[in-house]
Symmetry: C2
DNA sequence: ATCTGTGAATCAATTCACAGCC
DNA sequence: GGCTGTGAATTGATTCACAGAT
């Protein structure tokens, strides 16, 4: 969605299963709760949270109920505690190591992106196939050659690969990541990747997002496009 | 999701309504069909398309049936004709003009992104609030000052705004876009935007995408995160 | 009195399965 | 025989509405 999502293979429910639709909203709540903390807010009701997230209260309560019963009737939710519970559920209590493939514009933007580190993702390395780029710095990280991928992944216990290559190189990048032992890939290249079934892929295509938006724009204002 | 989506307000069904879930898949088909054309493929069955898209044949047929009955029983779909029909439905038969707000790393990457122009989106201008950046070139487009937004939008008939600012400036950027008459916003800043109800917003948060992927990574390999 | 948590009801999306056409 | 198009059945997500806790 927004992006095209290959539903990652879920073996047997190893923990309480949360509906996919709810999982995609948990990071939204997390963001709002973190902001609330900086503003000194320590309690929020489902109604208030819904307002901030642009959802309705029933959905918020249902979503949060999947985490357990962490609200207080008549009062609301303790912000800090809820942050902890959502982080626990999303596996964000400890950092994840990420390797970015592709040191072009997008790789640059992603590596510099403050939203990664602040959300518990550390870019271990940026790799590129172009030797001319190797050694240069991208967002405080030295670009290394794609041939080093295996040792980077193993030595640094990297678990997520981000593909930021041109579309034509994306499949190759995916294969290299898989060969290096990566099981989770976030793909920003505009291509459908073919990977072994045990590998989870999430694709975000910036162009497709615009196309989808364009559809609704057109629906709202049919005259706009003569 | 991919992503957090505020379902754009849909007034009365001005044309045949296509389910939201199907709309998000149309660009995927489009991409595959375009690739097939470059490979000289002119016919595809729902089964083949499903294989290429990582979906199942029934879903593909149902999705395509919303466009009309453009397949041939016993044969499949004519690739070129299907491309035309999907483009027509998504409103991609003519180009859309886009203005990018924020000339930082992300704005740079987006403006340079080949996937925009190849998909029928033309970046009319990049604007930034930092006068030091004004006049510099970003992907062939000269950066202009954010104060020029209104005249850019009016003179160039821009219909979509892309927010590529730091999160703290995103709400302000949205307000400026709305004031300039923009009704469709694609937001890459990690914030929930507050906009008038007639404005459609689609938010893509790169960090959230990683968080969602992390959840499934953790589900698949619960031992991985001790 | 207020707000959570949750079954029950509703609505949407997906899948099934097969009639109809090539 | 092979493949589309589509009602019917199923599965999943959302909303309703209220019992129960503070």
């Amino acid at each position: 969605m927004t992006d095209l999502v290959k539903p990652p293979s879920r073996p047997e429910a190893l923990r309480r299963r949360i509906p996919d639709a709810a999982v995609t909203r948990l990071p939204v709540y997390l963001q709002i709760l973190n902001k609330s903390i900086t503003e000194g807010v320590s309690q929020l009701s489902s109604d208030q949270l819904a307002g901030l997230a642009g959802l309705n209260a029933a959905k918020v309560r249902k979503d949060l109920s999947y985490l357990g019963s962490y609200g207080t009737r008549g009062v609301g939710y303790d912000v800090a505690y809820l942050v902890y519970q959502i982080k626990r559920e999303l596996g964000l209590l400890n950092d994840w190591k990420v390797v970015v493939v592709g040191a072009g514009n997008l790789g640059n933007a992603l590596t510099n992106y403050a939203g990664f580190s602040s959300r518990g993702f550390e870019v271990s390395a940026v790799v590129d196939i172009d030797s001319a780029k190797v050694g240069k710095k991208v967002g405080g990280v030295v670009v290394r050659h794609v041939d080093d991928l295996l040792s980077i992944v193993n030595n640094d216990k990297v678990s997520i690969g981000v593909i930021a290559t041109p579309p034509a190189s994306a499949q190759r990048a995916a294969e290299l990541l898989v060969a290096a032992g990566i099981k989770s890939i976030l793909n920003f290249a505009a291509t459908v990747l073919t990977v072994p079934s045990e590998v989870s892929v999430r694709s975000v295509d910036l162009g497709m997002e615009l196309q989808i938006l364009g559809y609704y724009e057109q629906l709202n204002r049919p005259g706009a496009c003569q």
